[in-house]
């Protein structure tokens, strides 16, 4: 796995907040088209890592390469323009707007204009199509309901649609499955599979290990801001360091 083929390459990433080290010298390579899962106990720095990669937080040290280009310190809009998109753990849509109108803003992104060859297209229509793709039933007109009235399952799908609207090559999903029932998770998985089939690379931060292991190619484990394991799900779960991280040092 040489870094020349990796779509995303993170090396020596370090972030401290005041006296606390949130992310400590993390190295990571993500290959084109794979689905990488990132797991770890609460507070292990997973979301901070995503913030560092997507440009919302500037690192104290280290480098991030996306498609071979250095993006360390770039603002989020530039990184999105290059083909990365992320979702947020805390889903906060524009509550008073209808669900589909929530997608208009990402569809106004310059990236869309470039991809569609100089025009933006009919944003309303594209938004409605996108929502149908993520499972908003067309005949129930769910897409027209104000976002504030939607239950969590739909909100998560909306969040996913907002990321998909940007037509990213790398999609980072921060705890997409949290707060969803098994059935809801089962209904979202095919959408993710379809994205993979389209050739997209996906990184998923998750606490729902069982559901994640079914779809992920590889897993990376963080604890206290450091990467403590990496590999296939069976290898990773067998590792002593991982067991200690999740269960505490009293185990084994």
């Amino acid at each position: 796995m040489s870094s020349a083929e990796a779509i995303l390459s993170v090396s020596g990433l370090l972030k401290t907040f005041g006296g606390v080290t949130a992310v400590s010298s993390v190295d990571l390579q993500v290959q084109h088209g794979e689905l990488l899962g990132i797991i770890g106990p609460n507070g292990s720095g997973k979301t901070t890592l995503v913030n560092l990669i997507s440009g919302f937080v500037k690192p104290n040290a280290g480098e991030v390469l996306f498609k071979g280009r250095k993006i360390t310190g770039f603002p989020p809009y530039r990184i999105v323009g290059m083909g990365m998109a992320r979702t947020f753990q805390m889903v906060k849509p524009f509550y008073q707007l209808p669900a589909f109108k929530n997608l208009i803003v990402p569809l106004c992104s310059p990236r869309i204009k470039a991809i569609l060859g100089g025009r933006y297209g009919d944003r309303d229509a594209i938004a409605l199509d996108l929502l149908e793709e993520v499972g908003f039933e067309r005949d129930a007109n769910v897409a027209y309901k104000p976002a504030g009235s939607l239950p969590q399952g739909y909100l998560k799908r909306l969040e996913l649609a907002k990321a998909m609207a940007l037509r990213p090559d790398l999609l980072i999903l921060d705890e997409l499955f949290s707060g969803l029932s098994l059935a809801e998770v089962a209904s979202i998985v095919p959408i993710i599979e379809k994205l993979r089939f389209q050739g997209k690379t996906i990184i998923m931060i998750e606490h729902r290990l069982k559901e994640l292991f079914r779809i992920a190619d590889r897993i990376a484990v963080l604890n206290f801001g450091m990467k403590i394991a990496e590999g296939k799900s069976e290898e990773v779960m067998a590792s002593e360091a991982v067991k200690k991280a999740y269960l505490g040092s009293e185990s084994g």
Partner: protein, 290 residues
């Protein structure tokens, strides 16, 4: 000349620090917008004057009454106005600013205008340092500033109430889970800040007259110091006060007095270009707020 500039510059710096402290405590440290600050300053001045001249109380009592009444006014403003628009930070600003406006202009309407409105010096007399004479009142300004700064620092870092002040600014929800009554704390902060305004008024106003325009100037100066030093940082206020204070005095002595305000403007402009959140400000820029 140099010694004079050195000393009077220091007095000016302490004056600015005194003015800004109360405002910073409420707005910078607790996050409660109190744009009626200038009005409260003037209110306390006039109140002390009324108690002294119209009612005839001994001055010490006037001072205490003025401070207490100002504190009460601050708490009242919180409960009547600010509490109802809490959360919408800018509504707080507008509402308190409007109120302050009303209060100040009310004084003007009732003809509290003119040179007879002055407060007596706390201590009469002066002393010579080298060949420079400095009156005791100005020394009081220096001492008050030092005492106040020390007090505020200890208060906000080492007492429960003070730490509560800082907590409600950072994250109200979390503060609530720690059992901090954010309403009570905010009201207390308003009261404190207003009391500090009154203390500043009692110490500084004897140097001149009590004028409604002074209220606007106080708010202006406090804002300027806070912008340059960094909202919320006690150390920043001190540094900014010294910088602006000396710059103003130097300008007044070596150029012309009416250029003094220009100094504050230039200071703000420089800070905005180099470090917009202030010298010691820890306003995280947008990118870091997740």
């Amino acid at each position: 000349m140099l010694l004079g500039t050195l000393i009077y510059g220091f007095v000016n710096s302490c004056l600015l620090a005194l003015l800004a402290m109360g405002f910073n405590l409420t707005f910078g440290i607790s996050g409660v917008a109190n744009f009626a600050y200038g009005a409260i300053y003037i209110f306390s001045g006039f109140t002390a004057w009324i108690f002294l001249n119209s009612i005839g109380l001994p001055y010490a009592l006037c001072v205490i009454s003025a401070i207490s009444l100002s504190a009460g006014l601050g708490v009242l403003i919180y409960h009547v106005v600010i509490k109802r628009v809490k959360g919408l930070a800018l509504s707080e600003v507008m509402a308190t600013f409007g109120l302050g406006l009303a209060i100040m202009e009310l004084f003007r309407y009732f003809d509290f205008v003119g040179f007879k409105y002055t407060l007596p010096n706390l201590i009469e007399g002066s002393v010579a340092i080298g060949d420079v004479y400095i009156d005791y009142q100005r020394i009081t300004v220096i001492l008050a500033a030092i005492a106040l700064t020390g007090f505020i620092y200890v208060f906000t870092h080492h007492t429960r109430t003070g730490l509560a002040f800082r907590a409600i600014a950072q994250d109200e929800r979390t503060a609530l889970t720690f059992g901090i009554d954010s309403d009570r704390t905010a009201a207390l902060s308003m009261g404190f800040g207003s009391a500090l305004a009154a203390v500043a008024a009692v110490v500084v106003l004897p140097l001149g007259t009590i004028a409604v325009e002074g209220g606007y100037d106080v708010l202006l100066n406090a804002l300027a110091v806070c912008i340059v030093g960094g909202l919320g940082s006690t150390v920043g206020i001190l540094v900014a006060s010294v910088l602006i204070g000396y710059a103003q005095t130097l300008t007044a002595n070596y150029l012309e007095p009416h250029w003094m305000m220009l100094v504050s403007l230039i200071a703000i402009a420089i800070v905005l270009c180099i470090k917009p959140s202030g010298i010691f400000g820890h306003q995280k820029e947008l990118e870091e707020r997740i």
